[in-house]
Subunit: 192 residues, 2 copies
Amino acid sequence: MSPKSETRKEEIVRVAAQLFKEKGYTAVTMRDIAAKMGIKAASLYNHITSKQDILDAVIISLAEAFTNGMQSIKSSNNNTIDKLKQIIQLHVKLSSQNSYAMASLNNDWMHLEERLDYYKKLRVEYEDDFRTILVDGITASDIIEANPEVMLFSILTTLRSLYIWIPKKEDLNLEEFTTTLYQILIEGIINK
Amino acid sequence: MSPKSETRKEEIVRVAAQLFKEKGYTAVTMRDIAAKMGIKAASLYNHITSKQDILDAVIISLAEAFTNGMQSIKSSNNNTIDKLKQIIQLHVKLSSQNSYAMASLNNDWMHLEERLDYYKKLRVEYEDDFRTILVDGITASDIIEANPEVMLFSILTTLRSLYIWIPKKEDLNLEEFTTTLYQILIEGIINK
DNA sequence: GTCTATATTTTGATAGAC
DNA sequence: GTCTATCAAAATATAGAC
């Protein structure tokens, strides 16, 4: 997994993800990717079969990691509060480890082709599990009786955007950040 | 402002914004826009000078509306809580009225060219004003002593993503929604 | 594994007829 | 104000030499 042992295809996917984050999938050309690697565009095709192929590699494994992580949290025996903490942890961890790919996961997924339906299925599973956790939490009186769809939307959009913010704070203490985020997202910011 | 009295250029900008939301600026072709209007791509150039021209029209006036709105809220004599309520109202209002253009404001701004620096200036002004409101609110003990950058990030990413959510709930009561959003974003979801 | 050369398609944009 | 015809540039991708 370290850059030293990565294959040429992995390097292409990693470099492409950086460019996709800056300009979006469609605006990045095979020449852009090749230039950033110091080779010619035609040489890329010795390692990947198409531009689509790169997008699939950037998005799908990360989407699976989120869906699997959420499933595991939902299935645990923890209470709502601990599950919410774990969801935040999951996002902080995956976003800090994949800050480039997160941009494509959020903004370029509609350019998937054969894998589009699979991606959508993963996202629905993940959102359904999160919704279940919230609805169960309301039933158990762990969280307030507000519209669970609005809660889901509100928390999820913040967590999905972490990739924009995390790389800007290079000396960020991830544990401390996770705690602060929990406080703000879940406990609110008002002084009562 | 109503579609009945809109100029042909305004129609182009409106139709283009819908397509930009679906696929992003770069993936939308002049032929796509023309086809959706029932004309040929060449005809578009009788009303606009370039594709760039359309993107400028989609983004800039909306960015100005946010910056002006935030400036006005910051300058008012209300307390922190009322200012935060007004910020949420501003976002709900502009997002419901411009749900297509909001997508480009969030995701296509980097494809601006001559207007890019101006856009960035507007965004910095807007974020600085929001940050000032939060920092003043901490000083006044209206809100908790958490990291204002994390608060700003957390609230702003949710508000900036409203355009994704609002159109999906067609019978949405905007006033009720604003109240729920305030509750979740500012007061938190935990049952204390 | 990378290169040059090139095929094919698509793109933004223009010219000029109606 | 829209059309057809067309241009020039840029894009993805392939073939074949080294």
